[in-house]
Symmetry: C2
Subunit: 335 residues, 2 copies
């Protein structure tokens, strides 16, 4: 079915090379020949074989985006931004999810198995650390996303988690809240996001001369709605429940919100809530969610830019960029 250059060449009565010249719009082709070849191309419905081109040229025009979970809104929204940025530069994005499984992460990133047909890789690791990444066999450029600290060697775009968490907590302090809880702490070595945000939470409390109450800091296994709902239930079961909660992402906050409202409590009157990520859901919840909003477009833009620079042969030292963020104040803290 798929016509090749050779078939077109035979039909047009020219050499394969000339057909290629027409397809690639090279100038030194006689107009009459060009027309004849073009007709043959049209008649056969010729489509260049991308695989052969890639093999020949060493470029596929594909970059891979490897994320923990596609159906987490933050990643879905980030993916959209990356696709848009890459498309502008003429690249197509291939998305894959790892579920944070180290085996799968390694498989996808090392590309030992199949389909190493990407020019570059944008990767948000959950489990893989610096050591794993540094001795990749492949030489495909990589840009890292996210909080997992990787000790150099690769371009990396992150968020100042400590600062952002401090900002969120300060906001709650500024509202005069007395017992501010945190949901989303993590002990796991490989999941640093939670720990960093807890640092920021502590910093804000200490700067305000407040004591950190350990039972108000709730760890969760994941950052999903269900985890937030469960953690909030635990907090409400305390002898002295909190009057404010900083959730380490919006899904946790939405889960917590559900628990609070289902107990007949009011947000923010009884409990103020702050989330993190600024996903669309939080803008339409009732009450809408105050949240730390990382600049996703900026993250995507920088990630794609760094990657394409590497593809263009940029050999400079690896960059580490911090993305901007703002605090979006909505109903869950201000009524």
């Amino acid at each position: 079915m798929a016509a090749t250059l050779r078939q077109v060449a035979e039909r047009a009565g020219v050499s394969v090379r000339t057909v290629s010249n027409v397809v690639n719009d090279f100038p030194q082709v006689a107009p009459e020949t060009r027309a004849r070849v073009q007709q043959a191309l049209d008649e056969l419905g010729y489509q260049p074989n991308a695989v052969a081109r890639t093999l020949r040229n060493g470029r596929s025009g594909l970059i891979a985006l490897v994320l923990p979970e596609l159906d987490v809104p933050y990643f879905a929204e980030l993916t959209r931004a990356v696709i848009e940025q890459a498309a502008e530069a003429g690249y197509t994005v291939v998305v894959d999810q790892t579920d944070g499984d180290p085996v799968r992460e390694r498989e996808l990133v090392m590309r030992g198995n199949r389909a190493a047909m990407f020019d570059g890789l944008i990767f948000n690791p959950l489990a893989l650390g610096g050591a794993d990444l540094r001795n990749r066999p492949s030489s495909t450029p990589v840009v890292l996303l996210g909080e997992r600290v990787v000790e150099g060697g690769l371009d990396h775009i992150m968020i100042d988690n400590v600062g952002a968490a401090e900002l969120a907590t300060r906001h709650l302090l500024g509202l005069g809240r007395q017992r501010i809880a945190a949901i989303g702490d993590q002990f796991d070595e490989t999941r640093q996001t939670g720990q960093l945000r807890t640092q920021g939470y502590h910093a804000a409390l200490q700067a305000a001369g407040r004591e950190v109450v350990p039972e108000l800091v709730r760890p969760t296994e994941f950052f999903h709605r269900a985890d937030g709902a469960a953690a909030m239930a635990d907090l409400l079961a305390l002898p002295q429940p909190p009057d404010a909660v900083f959730c380490y992402n919006d899904l946790l906050a939405l889960g917590a919100l559900r628990t609070i409202l289902s107990r007949g409590l009011r947000v923010p009157d009884d409990i103020a809530l702050v989330g993190f990520d600024d996903i669309e859901d939080g803008r339409y919840s009732t009450p809408s969610l105050t949240t730390v909003s990382p600049d996703k477009t900026q993250i995507a833009k920088n990630a794609v830019r760094l990657l394409l620079n590497r593809l263009d042969g940029d050999q400079s030292a690896p960059t580490r960029l911090s993305a901007d963020y703002t605090l979006e104040i909505r109903e869950s803290t201000t009524g």
Copy 2:
């Protein structure tokens, strides 16, 4: 950097072909030779070149999933299911979004431009119709998803939209609601989902001997939260607002919910709400959302199965499958 078979062969002092035999675990290699080659492979960190393999074998192990919008939860959740199903069969999924833009849809589906390196395609069209699809130049198998009616020629997995909408509306009738509205009707030729669901809505009302009140059927441009919020505001501005609303997807319902609650009205006491898609958001909203739940795993499973059958040379007539669905009854209709 990336070692080739030739380099490994030189180092091991054997032919390229023998190295290939070792890499592919062919049996007729002497143990001693195998060991020597294996050592050379390890030392050089050989990774097979997937592009060359694809060119040679005619199979990439990649299937493309082309969707309107990745950050719409329904599609994100469906994507997860497709990735899981494909992984089981040893295939990797490449995801791309079209934004429903006909130009982009055509570009991606026809693969005139780049990267036609997929063995098959699972495609949820918004704009493209049967005619466009039938004369694709490529012979890559395609499985269609979604409601857009395509007049044969391709495998197609759909939902019985009319029946599902009828079920949802009947549920509201069964609650004794008197003025049942609908949000999400569409006039646009290319977007059939809305029209089909309106048919089901009409059918249920008529079967119950109710009159269809035109002003209660609200069209929307998209199926996003903002559209639902705006349409609900219009409904509430009517002289006689509805006491129940069937929204054609969950995002519309969540937007509508936001509007209702922000006016101080109660759900379901004042207005009952039903959505469509059963996305996770709707399970954690307050109140949680009654919704039509299509079996996404089944859809993904069938889509992947049909596609892989075609890849295995199945020449039978195109199949049209309807996915199962259920009505998930939650707080937004039962308190």
